[in-house]
Assembly symmetry: D2
């Protein structure tokens, strides 16, 4: 079975390698060819353009945002040239509106569109332990699922409407961003009294908040380990912006998300645009006149 | 060894019963005598007034808020009459400023003051599985710790300054309140697209947010089980207000806490003052024009 | 001199009639022809399509939002067919990004683009007393200014970059929305103590806040006169959204604008989408459990 | 007629001098005697203690905050020693709760309490052009009014309940703080596009926002003239905190006030505690990475 992969960033590469390991024939395309060449050494075929990657039974795309996908998948003509029945599995975190538009575009062309945004950072992708939120056209979902399982710890079905997987993904990333900002504020609060934030985090993650997300992020914050970035701060801003837009489209105010959005913008204005989004927490210390570094 | 207990609300009673189980001699006082009588049947002695409960080596107090403690412990004259060397362990969640004041008052009288606010709801207290944050005068802490362990899953030492335990407690409750509001907003977001909030919560607690707090509260929210209240909404407002005041005293802005405070006030204005503080999450659905009930 | 007018809503009609009064030859286009026919009776010529309205020395457009202008001016082919040297004066409140894009599109075609968003409600437009913020290609501005003065109380030049007029307009509308929400909150605060909000507003507008905006809007709020709408609530949301987007593009957090945005969304969710944006103030009373009506 | 004056800060001194000008016999007390001596040269009598200043038909107090008034007026015993029928006019901005408590204390002692908080900065007080919000026991109000008119541009009656004047004062100062923060954000928004904030302010105050408050404060912001302080930043924080507390006591959320409170705390944390509260606006530029100075 031939599988296309479009986008070999630090997430997409992990996905592609897991597909190769399973013995699938993988044809890959990436804007900067270097990433493709590395994968070719691991046994992949090199696609000359996105359309060639679309000449497959199932194509996975993992790109940074709506307009990039628009250009690579639609603008390039790849979608028009794709054979009827092809299944396109979009692993990217996109806006709900864009997911709906993509679903319609695929239907018109007799292609099936599956939204499969993932939870997990690059190391988790490489380890094939991602949590995958999956929704879309049923036959496409049926074809995609066994392949998703090649790099997923678990696949979470979310029904026939592709964008439902995206809105759930945005809700999860909003919850993460809210957690990061809250860890920052709570840490700055105790720090003002001479209590080490790390002690607070130790207590939180040792009791009520004993969750992977709290352990990972409170650790990064306590150690001020904001580089290298697993997920850059501007991407966090993007996801919170998309969550706010999705809320607005259904008249759902998200006041916490609004505060987090402002905090992201402030962090970028203060020069943290290349840091991991856990650096969002540093803002609470900075605003208190006690910057972390 | 004689142990005093002041305040037999749903938390204090659990503490007292665990002390009794251990064979300690417990002398208890409570404003409404009914609660004391029930405890007397279990072997406790009834104190005629707070001062009598203070005639003990160690006295635990578990009362609702600063001014109540002020009145019961100071206003009643109990503190003045207490024998030098008595250790007072305050399990209540109080303001940082009040904890500092109590510490000073005790020092003046040769008494030792220990702040030991607890994490856990009434059922946890009854089960003797509370997490206890403990700070204060070292000899008092040394005396208190073995007794705290009678009803604690773990005792977390936080140094010599009593109020440090209180600021950490406030930071934890702020983090809980932020989590509840965030669960509400994230749930309302997906609900706007026809996705069951319970499905989002299942994914969150099955992946990144697999923590006791998330499981407990997302369950209460998904089932709209806001009564009976384990911790009433106005108490949540109180703790967030105290966190904000503690932040202000150290020039630490807490924008998320400010949003949560407004949401608590709105919930009370909408008639939820007798519900559990998990009902805070209902506000997000109400503001979106899709009330939970 | 021939002047085109595109868009005859309650603002555009006022503009067109003032141009007619001045004796200019006005050729008008509007999606729904009824509005054009009314204007034809007043002496205007009817344009069959936007391109015909563009066959003029200066064309004014007053449309609701970016995508409508995109469709009517660009999508219709009007811009392509326009004669070199034509000046297009866009009176609409658009996004900064869209204004930059329009400016570039016009330059490519040898047309000059002038941004001239206006301050004032329909009655003010009819009276020819608008305040006009004006920026863009200098020769176009020179040509537009005497015409703008036909319906302006004052024209405020803002330089060569068209979008500068738009960002100032967005800043003004954000300030108005902040004022409306603040009037609502301040009114709800005193109302909680039995003081009539109208009494507070009387004191404010009689002292520190003796400004037209405060008098107009506090009057509408005190009299709960939210219909008919001079400026509909969703248009207010749009402008605050555009201000937030313009801020984000320059890393400028606008926390007050974020709160106002959430309040607009909530008002729409509560059913106020057809009311005047002064109804935003009603939210403060609703959240306090004391709805205005 | 003998008039007492307690508190000769930059506001109180202006009041006292206007009373002296009118030929009233003024007996003044101030913590630091220097201010009294200066006034004695202008013809005032020096009170040895607050009680002596209370030996008058009408006593004005102008002190910084609740606890200072508590100490000077109640703690000093002045109130107990005051002759029945004495009218105490409190010009200070105090909390609603404190005003209610003072009103009750005075009633118990057969004294009449009048709340008369003022709108205006020191120069306005010196010029005798303050706007005075006045409420309380009717006979006391009747006695106070002609005296208030000696330094007031206008006296605004607010009924029999003293605290009503205080809640209106807090609402006005909240509206001012909201305006300052909004001017900062709107200015930072246009500044991001190379438009001088002063140009925006010129347009605002030349059109919709042609009000004294907007002219005064936008001028101070445009000129970065934050010292000397007419009203210090921490006093602004105090008033917004009191407005929030007054709102909470009546279940009235004030989300804009919450944002402003956080901004005040941040400004103080950044070192602006001795600047005028107009410096609040500088925060918006600082958060955007473009500090004003």
């Amino acid at each position: 079975m031939r599988v296309g992969v479009i986008g070999l960033g630090n997430m997409g590469e992990g996905v592609a390698r897991n597909l190769l390991k399973s013995g699938r024939e993988v044809v890959a395309w990436n804007r900067s060819p270097a990433a493709v060449d590395a994968l070719v050494e691991a046994g992949a075929l090199k696609a000359a353009d996105p359309a060639e990657a679309f000449r497959a039974e199932v194509v996975f795309s993992m790109l940074s945002q709506d307009d990039v996908i628009e250009e690579v998948v639609v603008g390039s003509g790849a979608l028009e040239k794709a054979a009827a029945g092809t299944t396109h599995v979009n692993l990217s975190t996109v806006s709900v509106a864009f997911a709906d538009r993509m679903e319609a575009l695929h239907q018109e062309r007799g292609l099936s569109y599956v939204a499969a945004p993932v939870l997990g950072r690059p190391d988790v992708a490489a380890a094939g332990q991602l949590n995958v939120l999956c929704a879309g056209e049923p036959s496409g979902v049926a074809k995609a699922t066994p392949l998703l399982e090649l790099f997923a710890k678990q696949v979470w079905p979310l029904g026939d409407r592709a964008s439902n997987a995206n809105v759930v993904k945005l809700a999860c990333n909003f919850a993460l961003a809210s957690m990061i900002e809250t860890l920052g504020e709570a840490g700055a609060l105790v720090d003002g009294y001479g209590v080490e934030p790390s002690r607070l985090y130790e207590i939180m993650t040792g009791t009520l908040f004993a969750a992977p997300a709290y352990k990972t992020y409170s650790g990064l914050i306590a150690e001020r380990k904001f580089s290298p970035a697993g997920f850059k701060l501007p991407l966090g801003l993007k996801d919170v912006r998309l969550a706010l837009a999705a809320g607005e489209a259904r008249q759902t105010p998200l006041p916490i998300a609004s505060v987090v959005r402002d905090a992201f913008i402030e962090a970028i204005a203060q020069g943290d645009q290349d840091k991991d989004w856990s650096a969002l927490a540093a803002g609470a210390f900075r605003r208190a006149g006690r910057p972390l570094d």
